[in-house]
């Protein structure tokens, strides 16, 4: 077992475990902290996939900012443990569980069955590429730096419209959030 393989399984277990913890903890604080853990794990997975820059951004944006916000809000609300963490209703609950289970089964099944089609072709190519990447292991560092540059170039040329649109979106969001935060409970306010 190579370190890469070990790393993948370790991180996969970490991610799935902490993801389940988000779902299962009845205390929202624990859920939030588990989610933060998941985020860090995902960042690590990004690193194993050579997406260094995205990994760093994942840490800064998700783990560093978004999740901190979540935790702060939960702490502000002062909710310790919930009496009813999960939805009641046997039929709807069962339906939800069935839907979720079927969905996971379908996706995983689809991925495995789909090897012959798109994903399969991709895997063959990917195998060759992985081999190539392994042989050129020493060059990986330089390649990664170039990847960051390539990322920037693509972002500001090919995807410039999306970038600008996101800028507009963020501005709108900032204004809206401030407006919401300043309100005293929405339209019901006196």
């Amino acid at each position: 077992m190579t370190p890469d393989v070990f790393l993948f399984w370790f991180l996969a277990l970490l991610i799935v475990g902490s993801g389940l913890a988000v779902l299962l903890f009845t205390n929202p604080v624990y859920s939030a902290l588990s989610l933060a853990m998941t985020m860090v794990g995902v960042a690590a997975i990004f690193i194993t996939l050579n997406a260094y820059f995205i990994a760093g951004v994942q840490l800064i944006v998700y783990a560093g900012a978004v999740m901190v916000l979540f935790v702060m809000v939960i702490m502000l609300f002062d909710i310790k443990s919930e009496v009813q963490a999960f939805t009641s209703g046997k039929i709807s609950g069962a339906m939800k569980l069935i839907a979720v289970g079927l969905l996971s089964g379908l996706i995983v099944g689809g991925i495995i069955m789909g090897q012959k089609s798109f994903v399969g072709e991709l895997s063959k190519d990917a195998a060759a590429q992985v081999a190539e990447a392994n042989s050129a292991k020493m060059k990986r560092a330089a390649g990664a730096d170039a990847a960051t540059k390539e990322l920037g170039v693509a972002l500001f040329t090919k995807h410039i419209f999306g970038f600008e649109a996101l800028g507009v979106l963020l501005t709108a969001i900032a204004v809206g959030t401030v407006a919401l935060a300043r309100s005293r409970g929405g339209t019901h306010a006196k």
């Binding site: 993801g19 988000v22 996971s104 994903v119 996101l166 919401l180």
Partner: protein, 108 residues
Amino acid sequence: MPSSSFLTDISLNHYLILSSVLFVIGMAGVLLRRNVIVILMSLELMLNAVNISFIAFSKFTQNVDGQIMVFFVMTIAAAEAAVGLALAVAIFKRFKEVNIKFFEHLRG
């Protein structure tokens, strides 16, 4: 497929399955949890799951566009979290409650 190669050969499928499992966990959270904030967190989980598959595709197709999409998804996720939390705070201020059961004012 033989289990030994499944354990040792990490292919695109492994990442995709990891991604889908995480996605489904997030979805279960959205469907089953009652706390508005936990639901928002589960949404973040789903977005992260999608990000994993984006990055995996990006790596295995040697295409940087996948990373760009992740960049966009992150931005939108951050925005969504900001608005969602602001709403949650506003609702909490008003009702002193974050249980989603209490917000069924649009019941038909």
